[in-house]
Symmetry: C2
Subunit: 205 residues, 2 copies
């Protein structure tokens, strides 16, 4: 895979294969697919990523990706300002928004504490979170990081930091996924789902 008949092709394949999880052969397949499209489609593809990079903004309040200085969730008057859900990145926002169960606002940390990757608390949007939380006395902060070791470490760090502030700190429930067979659930998840058992309600099982 090093014999390109065109330097332009080689350059494009190299760019694509620099994307995560994209090897040289996949990159070539993607590039040849684009090459077969109309010029207008290729321009649209090319411009979409350039416009996103140049014109998108980071919300000044919650650090969400947005087309505006303050994102549409933060400016929405129908959403609770005293309920802040802390997530790692924009994918967390999208996952929770898709459930349509959350009517508060978000705070995007920008990652999780990871000594392995050299990411410490000062690399994350934690100071701004503490500042926001100070302004919602009696409110609630939901820690919604991924249930990994690093996510739990970050949860614990945040919990400690939020300790002196007059807010309720909660975390998303861990438990057996809907539709899971009990015998295939891992022990930690199953153990926690027994410890944190909830009163049975029809329609809530």
């Amino acid at each position: 895979m090093n014999t390109f008949s065109s330097k332009l092709l080689e350059a494009a394949v190299n760019e694509f294969s620099a994307l995560p999880g994209v090897g040289k052969k996949t990159a070539l397949r993607l590039v040849l697919h684009l090459l077969k499209q109309d010029s207008s489609k290729v321009s649209a593809f090319s411009e979409s990523i350039l416009r996103l990079k140049n014109d998108s903004k980071i919300c000044k309040v919650c650090y969400n990706l947005s087309d505006y200085d303050v994102c549409e969730i933060c400016t929405n008057p129908h959403r609770q300002s005293d309920l802040i859900c802390v997530v790692e990145d924009i994918r967390g926002v999208m996952a929770i928004e898709n459930t349509q169960q959350f009517r508060g606002k978000f705070h995007i940390l920008g990652g999780r504490i990871s000594p392995m990757e050299g990411i410490g608390p000062s690399d994350l949007n934690i100071d701004s979170l503490l500042e926001r939380v100070q302004s919602i006395p009696g409110g609630e902060v939901i820690l919604a990081l991924s249930p990994t070791t690093e996510g739990e470490t970050t949860n614990f760090y945040l919990f400690k930091k939020l300790n002196g502030i007059n807010v309720t700190v909660t975390t998303i429930a861990r438990g057996v996924s809907f539709g899971d067979e009990l015998e295939y659930a891992d022990e930690i998840t199953l153990g926690r789902s027994i410890l944190n058992r909830i009163p049975y309600k029809v329609g809530n099982s």
Copy 2:
């Protein structure tokens, strides 16, 4: 996966997920990866595909993708002009070039005959192939399409078409791949490799 906080993000994700084999979640991962890069890197990515589309050419002789009107393989005086290897597309050229075993020239058909996909002989670069072959009397044409049903159909069609012309028509050897266990080779491949057995030579087994 329909709750984008940014229309620009949504547009870019839609463009990426239109690529073959790329779903919405993968597209989001790729786009967020690009978004984290420097502007110059994103520009380079974006321009590479645009330049390829706008500036690359199709070789007038062999239909290979090239940066010039006639590709570097066709203009190379050290390559045999009377040995033409017929391949489906540029990936065939690259695969064969990577072996460094071929010193002739190529002819890119642009696909294979496929009634299922509505591709007939007139959609492929067959007339130009016949014209080229007429000009190399006594030469050789290697049919190197993929060993699929459609590839074999195309091979057969080309063989018929080349029949009246004074050239040798060959095809790439089919057989058990190097390193394969016999018991796992499929019957057609193994059957052919017995029918087309070759004299044993040290270093050629």
